[in-house]
Point group: C2
Chain length 557, copies 2
């Protein structure tokens, strides 16, 4: 059979490019892991015209004679593009497009920020954002709709409080939502009243009164959010990410971006539930699309909630809420059914499990289906935050990938101590123990819940310290992994977890030339220095896709 499709391109480009030759990225202080996790140093990268690594050059190696182009990196540090094993691409973009009020320290400052945002976003039908805190403003009360009107005029606006438990609407938003003095507060919520009328702030369940009239994002909004997210990730040195919970609209956005040549990062997509995976992939995962930039290979399922809201499903009650163990999202039968529907079509399963009971449910289910669905399954547990030590060894035995987020540990540690008490911390954020069980440990950020900056996560991975270096010596430091292991979890193994290990995650002949030019040696930097790493340039498939100071799109060679 004649391979008509690629040949078409071959010839048209052969004619356009009569002298195709390799290219050279030279004069670099390069370091990468190999596929076994050993450090390899190099000083140049020979890049093929199709954007793959031909060879890593060492001092004294012969340079190719004929070159299509060469790029002198002037001795700067080059490492493989970082891989985030767990993020939410579209949410990152949408959050970045909304107005962040978390740095405002007065109502007047917030109003000014909103006024500017409104001027910069005249095409938006609603103004939305979040992060305000009336305590930070030293206001002593909630802000009012009238105070928001003063900044927005008649355009509807909705800003959520820093904790997500309240929202601030203006008069236009309340009018559109049909809120009047007669509107009753719903169960579990409260409409804040001012002088007998709805004052603009809606607490908890009352927030839905406004949110139900927020317009759905248009495809144009989604395109813009994707581009924003991609810019952020590339500027942070992230060249590939798992997208954990891709909706159908998310997927259509990625395809539009791929079709138009705007997709520059690599996305390992996990569908939000079984139905989207079947609708997209039909009878199995999609192929790698757009030169290994996009693939829907798996399904994300939620087994429980989060620790902070006591939604994580625990074996024993919360230490600080002794009648509560959290709740499962799925019955065992529902979980098994969903896993089977995905696995029978060779989709990978990524199970969100935070509490020890949810992790046990995940392991029980994987154990039960493992006899039926054999082969290279790479079952994943996302977060695996609290695991009963009695269950820990099961991860390795079942070949489960523990997909964990170092910064969650540093953000959550005090809260986790409160929720769990001292007895249950042995299996909490237990990275080293996971490795000890011979589970594959992979790292991500859970952006936008945490910053997508992988250097912060990398540092946390071997220090168990937060951005301020707290606590001294690290929290439960026996669960830290080595610097090299944390790097591996953010590169080689994160790619493996998404079935991408033959394509990206490290630099070696035949791999995609995805790399980052940074301002320091991450293997020598102190943890504090590592967190401050500056990304000068990001390259994907032999193309420069980000250059510091020029933005992502402007960086293309």
């Amino acid at each position: 059979m004649r391979p008509a499709l690629p040949l078409a391109l071959v010839v048209s480009l052969l004619l356009a490019n009569p002298a195709l030759a390799d290219a050279l990225v030279e004069n670099v202080d390069g370091m990468t892991l190999d596929e076994r996790g050993e450090i390899v140093r190099f000083n140049g990268i020979v890049v093929s015209p199709d954007g793959k690594v031909v060879k890593l050059l060492k001092r004294g190696d012969k340079r190719p004679e004929r070159l299509d182009w060469r790029e002198d990196m002037k001795g700067r540090t080059v490492i493989p593009g970082m891989v985030d094993a767990h993020g939410h691409v579209m949410e990152l973009g949408f959050r970045a497009m909304a107005l962040d009020l978390s740095a405002t320290t007065s109502l007047a400052q917030a109003q000014e920020a909103i006024r500017r945002y409104a001027l910069d976003n005249t095409q938006r039908s609603w103004l939305v954002g979040g992060g305000w805190n009336q305590e930070m403003w030293q206001l002593g009360r909630f802000p009012t709709a009238a105070e928001l009107d003063a900044a927005t005029g008649d355009k509807p606006a909705w800003f959520t409080r820093a904790d997500g438990h309240a929202g601030w609407a203006n008069s236009a938003a309340m009018r559109i939502a049909g809120i009047t003095a007669a509107t009753k507060s719903p169960a579990g919520g409260r409409i804040e009243m001012v002088a007998g009328k709805p004052g603009g702030v809606f607490v908890d369940a009352a927030m839905a009164l406004i949110e139900k009239v927020l317009p759905r994002p248009t495809p144009r909004d989604r395109n813009a959010a994707f581009i924003k997210a991609q810019d952020i990730l590339l500027s942070n040195g992230v060249t590939a990410s798992a997208d954990m919970g891709t909706s159908l609209d998310d997927w259509m956005t990625y395809r539009r971006m791929g079709d138009l040549g705007i997709l520059r990062m690599r996305i390992m997509s996990y569908s939000a539930g079984v139905d989207v995976a079947l609708q997209v992939g039909g009878s199995g995962p999609t192929p790698w699309l757009y030169n290994d930039k996009l693939r829907m290979g798996g399904i994300k399922l939620y087994l429980d909630g989060a620790l902070g809201s006591r939604g994580a499903w625990l074996k024993a009650p919360y230490a600080d809420a002794t009648a509560n163990t959290g709740l499962p999202f799925l019955t065992d039968a529902q979980l098994l059914n969903s896993i089977a529907r995905g696995a029978m079509d060779d989709f990978q399963l990524a199970l969100h499990a935070i509490g020890d009971r949810a992790n046990k449910q995940a392991l029980d289910a994987i154990e039960e289906v493992s006899d039926t669905y054999k082969g290279d399954r790479r079952w994943r547990i996302e977060h695996a935050q609290i695991v009963d030590p009695a269950d820990l060894l099961r991860l390795g035995k079942l070949g489960v990938i523990a997909s964990m987020q170092p910064v969650h540990q540093t953000s959550d540690r005090m809260m986790a101590e409160t929720r769990l008490g001292p007895q249950r911390l042995a299996g909490a954020y237990a990275w080293k123990s996971m490795l000890g069980s011979r589970a594959k440990l992979v790292f991500g950020s859970d952006f936008p819940v945490e910053s997508p900056n992988p250097f912060v996560g990398w540092a946390a991975g071997f220090t168990r310290q937060d951005a301020q270096g707290q606590p001294f010596g690290g929290w439960r430091p026996e669960e830290a992994v080595s610097r090299e292991q944390a790097w591996r979890a953010f590169t080689v193994d994160a790619a493996y977890a998404g079935f991408g290990e033959k394509k990206f995650g490290h630099l070696a002949p035949g791999m995609r030339a995805d790399f980052v030019v940074i301002d320091r040696d991450p293997l020598l930097a102190s943890p504090e220095q590592l967190r401050q790493t500056v990304v000068f340039e990001t390259w994907v498939g032999g193309e420069r896709v980000y250059r510091r100071g020029q933005g992502a799109a402007a960086g293309a060679r």
Copy 2:
């Protein structure tokens, strides 16, 4: 900017194919139109490795010296692949996968066909089909559920009557639908009773009682239906088709097929309504995907129903139902709003209009928006069956494409005379008058409503006669177009109507090498002979994708 994506393929294939050269399809009796509709004859096609026509060779022309492969056609006739300007790809496949009982002449014969179909389709959860007619069976009554059970056993089954106005369910289907002796017939429908119990046949609105429990097709079903449809089209010599009313699930199917390299024909997709177009294309039509095999470029909107069911919207009442003028599907404001939503994002609009009032509504709307949405819009009216002579000239003036189906005229002529009476036939199926108005006339089949065989449509286009050669001399023969014009409407102009005229629709240097090898000269054949044309081979993009006797998939070089 470095074109990283195609270069990747260039190099990997350059290495695999060190000696890329053109290929030759030789010893053909070739004929094509050029872009102006003039006939060009040739004896060989030089095909580039990317599947385009390099040159059409005439006797005495020098053959290329170095050839990658050559194919001797042994003097057979070669014409460009036929282009259908209006079809329904997925419906063609689904209908072909269902059991067709229209040829059965007795209940026993139907039972035997159903029994065989059940054995051949054990993986199906329901047995479905249609085409039965108890009059043809000389049964004198409707068939019963028990009679269907005898063929199906306990697997649910549902077969619609030839006219689509009744359905025959078995006991399993009625059990699943919850039908009991107590179930009431809905308004506008009737449950046929046998000995005081539902007998198995459901008439008109009662059909929905069963149809609501029919399972939705799975993605696997959709893949299978697509492959079936593509096989049928390629075996009929159709290499490109408009898909008029692509649903999101249809689109996902085409993408799966494209991603997996199974998409071999070309599809000009028109979304079913505005929302799908926006969800797929976002801010405009998709690019041509998969080497010009797929593009969503437009939106299909329905302005009215059909003539047979008196749903077509007429200016004056039906001749055979004098209180009825049919009904519009959209108000003028709704239509203008939908057109604007599509046109502002550069989607083409294809407006289904059958009755003269609906055609006027379409023309009024196009006239109204033409000032705002300028440029190369190619507004289409689909069917344009009954147009008031007073409106005919407006098509040309507004640059409208009349997308018509010759076989509808031959199938409908008696019914049209009854519905319209003699006074209104002047603007009915008025192909020649359309051309006279300087509208672009393009032809399609409306498969699966009619057969997708384009040679039948071509013959009807210049004879106004049906497959039996009726009526003698043709129906209103003054509206026939020339043989060459009908060919053009099924090739060059059908491609133009889908913005594909620079890619396919005729054979010339730079065009995709889409052609058909047939058993006779279509420019010399009598209409009867033309209708009987046998397709030996079908080629798309320089690849043989169908060979008679081997099926479509087996035909690939």
